[in-house]
């Protein structure tokens, strides 16, 4: 389902009411834009994953309503497309907050206290895995290894990996991210 993005009500409220998706650099999706992404890639051999990545990279998620469009263009059933999207942890069908945080849950990070870090982040943001904080700033996702295992524990925010993470360092990072976003806008 295409969830409409919140629209700024007055200029005074601009800072807080700009949709987190827009602040994260994503566009609002339309069937025409989705078709554009599909058409650019559909002739590649095995084009399905590249198409799903392109849609998620542009709109922040793969809206359920795009499934029939993808299915028709790729000559597959909706069930097949749904089956592919749901198989892969990376793909999501709901919009996200301004920052997506991936917390590494794998063994090397566990050996360096990632379980404590994980519970700290979840309680500080008030969001469990696959959820978004109430202020729409952060979406929390689990990840199994970021390949930064010699400097654990690690988290990923957007495309940036942060090593030797601790609850204190996380709090400073989260503060910086929320304030710098406000300053930018």
């Amino acid at each position: 389902m295409g969830v409409p993005m919140s629209v700024p009500k007055t200029s005074a409220q601009n800072i807080t009411s700009i949709s987190p998706a827009i602040r994260a650099g994503f566009e609002d999706w339309t069937p025409a834009l989705v078709k554009q992404e599909i058409d650019a890639l559909k002739d590649k051999p095995g084009a399905m994953l590249p198409i799903l990545h392109a849609i998620q990279d542009r709109f922040g998620y793969i809206p359920e309503a795009t499934v029939p469009i993808i299915a028709e263009a790729m000559r597959q059933t909706r069930a097949e497309v749904h089956g592919i999207i749901s198989f892969y942890h990376h793909f999501r069908t709901h919009p996200v907050g301004a920052h997506v945080i991936h917390i590494c849950r794998a063994e090397a990070c566990q050996s360096m206290g990632s379980r404590q870090l994980e519970s700290h982040i979840k309680s500080r943001l008030g969001a469990d895995y696959h959820q978004t904080s109430r202020d729409n700033e952060f979406t929390v996702e689990p990840v199994y290894c970021l390949g930064n295992c010699a400097c654990a524990p690690s988290i990923r925010i957007g495309d940036d990996i942060h090593g030797r993470m601790s609850p204190d360092k996380f709090d400073r990072l989260a503060d910086r991210l929320t304030t710098s976003t406000l300053e930018l806008k």
Binding site: C145, N148, C151
Partner: protein, 511 residues
């Protein structure tokens, strides 16, 4: 005169602030009127020293690390731009740091030395020498060279690479593929990532040679989506290799074609299994295929396909350049050449260690690793990723070798070594092994799909003291069923860590 500084740009250095360090060094130089050229090199793989800043001098490159933002001004004051060694972070000549000088770097000979995207750097360090030789050889002669090297698949299964290539070469001419498995999902491993971020042309060269060897003109690198830096670097390297004529219709002016594309995975551990990877590349759910048919005969899009790990393909340029025998000179028994060991987890000096097969775990953990990060006693080591057994101290003297490890139920796998101190709860680790399998199972076969879910439940009951003896017996049987009855290594090996905890750390499976 301009001074050359090096600040690495791999994921680990970046994760510890390398970009900010590079900017601060530039500011310090500007404010002092010093002219500097800052090269963003790859990492040397000495991760406990990252960000590792180097200064080029007449005597060689001098190292400083680990550098934090607050150190930059003091480093500049102490004369870093002139290579002065008075600051506490000064480490002397990089090449003489024992952790590095004691290694045998064949595959990783260039990492950290060069600018990963510079073709000139690559060529200046023997880059494309293997390809040039391969272009003068017949496909069979290339395959023979790889066979002579004794190279075995570095992804974990250790199947002889030359034999796999021979199978694909023997298939009738037509569309064939080279697929590189860069879905490096094992916790504690980062060697594939280092290749792609720090020496991407080596992988391009290795895949091109593989294409020449078996008669394939199209290659795919299947890269995990958890590696955004590797993706960025490798895409740029591909672009430059095409522009310079190393890929495309006329590889290095030979008239031969080889095209290469990187495809992003989507966060499914199972897609590191080769048949599931092929389904994913074809645009499907990454379900495991029964074997036979082997991918070498019916692989990607039903065509003969070489599926090799990054490290296997990355070893190929050296083998073609120096000869298979030169590679086979390293190693022990049937494990020839070097192994990229990755020291991770609770460790003081984590990083990449490339050595001939045969070093013991204890030497690695004590001589190289320097013990745990926390300084507490070491309790368990998991080698070979989430499907590898947890090894107690009694097993630390085994040499790193595929057969020696297999003899006691250990797994060398992709060479990841994850250390745990004495605060670890091994019952929790056993539970996680089953939980991970439940999350990541492709669902095709019952022992893996259902067994892992039941495994979590049974372990929970054991840890709660609920009918402990009977449930331990049930867990033993469940593990055996999964090992014997699963279609692929995921379900077949997920019980290994659990079994090792039951055998060596039973005290942690108490209520």
């Amino acid at each position: 005169m301009s001074v050359k500084l090096f600040v690495p740009c791999d994921t680990t250095a970046l994760s510890l602030g390398a970009d900010r360090i590079a900017a601060a060094l530039q500011r310090e130089a500007d404010s002092r009127g010093a002219t500097v050229e800052i090269v963003r090199n790859g990492s040397r793989g000495l991760f406990w020293l990252e960000p590792l800043v180097e200064v080029e001098t007449a005597a060689g490159r001098l190292a400083y690390g680990p550098v934090e933002l607050e150190d930059v001004a003091a480093l500049a004051d102490s004369g870093l731009f002139e290579g002065a060694q008075s600051h506490p972070l000064a480490l002397g000549l990089t090449e003489e740091i024992p952790y590095l000088s004691r290694q045998q770097r064949l595959t990783f000979s260039r990492i950290g030395i060069t600018d990963p995207l510079s073709l000139a750097d690559y060529r200046a360090h023997s880059g494309f020498a293997g390809l040039e030789k391969a272009l003068k050889l017949s496909p069979q002669a290339i395959v023979d060279e790889v066979k002579a090297s004794g190279l075995r698949g570095r992804g974990g299964a250790a199947f002889p690479t030359g034999i796999k290539w021979q199978t694909v070469l023997a298939e009738p001419e037509g569309r064939k593929y080279i697929v590189c498995n860069a879905d490096e999902g094992d916790s504690g491993t980062f060697a594939d990532r280092l290749v792609m971020e720090c020496d991407p042309y080596m992988l391009i060269e290795g895949m091109t040679i593989a294409g020449l060897a078996v008669g394939a003109s199209q290659g795919y690198v299947y890269l995990r989506s958890e590696y955004p830096v590797a993706h960025r670097m490798f895409k740029e390297a591909l672009k430059r290799a095409y522009e310079a004529g190393y890929l495309g219709a006329d590889v290095a002016g030979s008239g031969r074609r080889f095209d290469l594309e990187v495809r992003l995975a989507a966060g499914a551990y199972i897609c590191g299994e080769e048949t599931s990877l092929l389904d994913s590349l074809e645009g499907k759910r990454g379900m495991v295929r029964p074997k036979p048919p082997l991918p070498a005969i019916e692989g990607l899009f039903g065509r003969p396909t070489v599926v090799n790990n990054v490290l296997s393909l990355a070893a190929v340029p050296f083998i073609l350049d120096q000869g298979g025998a030169a590679y086979a000179d390293y190693g022990m028994g049937r494990s020839r050449g070097t192994l990229a060991l990755q020291m991770a987890g609770n460790i003081k000096r984590g990083g990449l260690i490339e050595l001939a097969f045969g070093i013991t775990l204890r030497e690695l953990m004590e001589d190289f690793g320097g013990g745990t990060f926390t300084g507490r006693p070491l309790r368990a080591v998991q080698v070979g990723g989430p499907l590898g057994a947890y090894l107690p101290e009694s097993q630390w003297d085994s040499p790193m070798d595929y057969e020696a490890f297999a003899a006691f139920g250990g797994v060398v796998g992709h060479g990841g070594v994850v250390m745990f101190d004495d605060t670890v709860d091994m019952g929790e680790q056993a539970r996680f092994a089953m939980e991970f399998c439940a999350v990541e199972s492709c669902g095709k076969c019952t022992p893996c799909r259902i067994g892992s879910v039941r495994g979590v439940e049974v372990i929970d009951r054991i840890r709660a003291g609920d009918n402990r003896e009977a449930n331990l017996e049930l867990l033993t049987e469940l593990c055996e069923t999964m090992v014997d009855g699963s279609l692929c290594a995921m379900g077949g090996m997920a019980p290994f860590p659990v079994q090792s905890v039951m055998k060596h750390f039973p005290e942690d499976l108490q209520a």
